[in-house]
């Protein structure tokens, strides 16, 4: 999932192809993370994240792992800003259960897009800190200390959040016949 140091070096100099490669490599992860946090207009917020990356990448010093930690830090802060702005504007974020209900019974169950949407909806059904901890620590495989830094919490709390989040997902998926009903109830 990472990029090599050469791409980062060229991206620091403003190389357009290197910036494009960074974007293609991490755009999906950033976008899914934003969606799992029920960010309003996640595509727009993702674009802002990448503009911030391009603005500050000249001062960035580190490898691929450092870049991913830095990237998700920016994405998390942008997501928080977006959610706060939406609350001020009295715009409620789309609940995960509603998204699941909308896709219920659709013909695209076997479609990859539908699987991704369903997975994002499942994680989004978790509490905010719990879902973010799962996305960052389990899905994107960031170190515990990095996740703790991004979420502004302790390493132990990150481990607890990840454990409880996976357990809650397992319970949701244990009911084979009433999976959808379980997810609605979780919301």
């Amino acid at each position: 999932m990472g990029v090599d140091s050469d791409v980062l070096s060229r991206a620091r100099l403003g190389d357009r192809s290197a910036l494009a490669e960074l974007w293609r490599t991490h755009q999906a992860a950033v976008l899914r993370y934003l969606r799992s946090r029920r960010t309003v207009s996640p595509e727009d917020v993702a674009s802002q994240v990448w503009v911030d990356v391009a603005t500050s990448i000249g001062r960035f010093d580190g490898g691929a792992d450092d870049f991913r930690r830095w990237l998700f830090t920016i994405a998390h802060r942008r997501s928080v800003d977006s959610i706060r702005r939406a609350v001020r504007q009295d715009r409620l974020a789309i609940r995960a259960a509603d998204t699941v209900a909308d896709s219920d019974g659709a013909d695209v169950e076997h479609d990859r897009h539908a699987a991704i949407d369903r997975a994002v909806a499942l994680v989004a059904s978790l509490p905010d800190q719990m879902g973010s901890a799962v996305m960052l620590r389990v899905v994107n495989e960031l170190p515990v200390e990095d996740v703790a830094a991004i979420l502004d919490t302790t390493d132990g709390n990150v481990r607890v959040l990840v454990h409880r989040g996976l357990a809650r997902l397992r319970r949701k998926l244990s009911v084979t016949d009433g999976g959808h009903a379980t997810m609605r109830g979780a919301s």
């Binding site: 990356v53 991704i116 998926l173 084979t176």
Partner: protein, 291 residues
């Protein structure tokens, strides 16, 4: 039926490669990133543009201060108070400033001319004599009409001869009445006037003014006051000459008027010149303001 049987399936789905939907608008986002990087990498360019804008602002401020300062000087004159009533129209304000400038310049030039003439009486006398000469020359050239520079016509008085040879109906005194010595020779003009003033015998009925205006004792006149040839025809010819002679007395107002008109014309010429200079100045100011 659920798509996921285990949380690992969910994680695998979330780790799946990006879809075409997720990677849409790649070009626009990359363009935004490139612009953001270029802007961040060259902050000096943005600083330079701000500096140049500040320099332009300073230049504009200096020009505006100059225009306002000059307008303040013009507005300080009594005629410049009307500028306060001018609206915010830039063209109208410029025209008003031009008018004020012209008025001030003209007034100054006229005052200077008047002051110079009053301070130097000799020059004034010379100017008056010059005006008289010019007026008399014009009168001789144009005969009975004297056309001034503005086209006004002034009638020059013509003396009609009297039946008894007197040249003035209102004057009783005549050159025949000039004072003479014991030998019958005509005395000079001053003695004649003095005799009239004293009221000597034979001069009681005359007035001093009439005697002073007479030609008694003047050079070129027959001293005996009588025709040299004693010919009456000659007297008639003298009477005819007298009719052609231009009386000096009525010319005086003409010369005065001519003098004043001459002065006016000179003043007008000077004021026009001053106006043109003022307009040139105001044009320069307008050019400055346009700059």
């Amino acid at each position: 039926m659920s798509l996921f049987n285990d949380p690992d399936d969910v994680v695998d789905a979330l780790r799946a490669p990006a879809t075409t939907t997720e990677l849409a608008d790649e070009s626009s986002v990359v363009e935004l990133m490139a612009n953001a990087h270029r802007t961040a990498a060259h902050p000096s360019a943005r600083r330079t543009s701000m500096t140049s804008m500040s320099r332009r602002t300073r230049v504009a401020t200096l020009i505006a201060a100059g225009v306002i300062g000059f307008g303040g000087v013009a507005a300080a004159s009594p005629g410049g108070l009307d500028i306060l009533s001018v609206g915010s129209d830039e063209a109208g304000m410029t025209e008003e400033v031009e008018e004020v400038t012209t008025t001030v310049s003209t007034t100054i030039v006229e005052e200077v001319t008047t002051t110079t003439a009053a301070d130097d009486p000799d020059e004034e006398v010379e100017t008056q004599q010059r005006v008289n000469e010019e007026s008399s020359e014009e009168g001789e050239e144009e005969g009975e009409e004297n056309v001034d520079t503005k086209g006004e016509q002034i009638e020059v008085g013509v003396v009609e001869p009297l039946p008894d040879g007197r040249d003035n109906l209102d004057t009783k005194f005549d050159e025949n009445d000039c004072a003479k010595d014991d030998g019958g020779n005509e005395l000079n003009h001053g003695k004649t006037v003095s005799a009239v003033a004293r009221g000597d015998d034979g001069f009681e009925e005359f007035e001093v003014r009439d005697a002073a205006h007479s030609d008694c004792g003047k050079v070129g006149r027959d001293t005996d006051g009588i025709d040299t040839d004693g010919d009456d025809e000659i007297e008639e010819s003298e009477a005819e000459e007298a009719t052609e002679e231009v009386d000096v007395e009525p010319e005086k107002p003409k010369t005065d008027q001519a003098k004043s008109k001459e002065a006016k014309s000179n003043g007008n010429a000077k004021s026009k010149e001053a106006k043109s200079n003022g307009n040139a100045k105001s044009n320069g100011n307008a050019k400055k303001s346009n700059d």
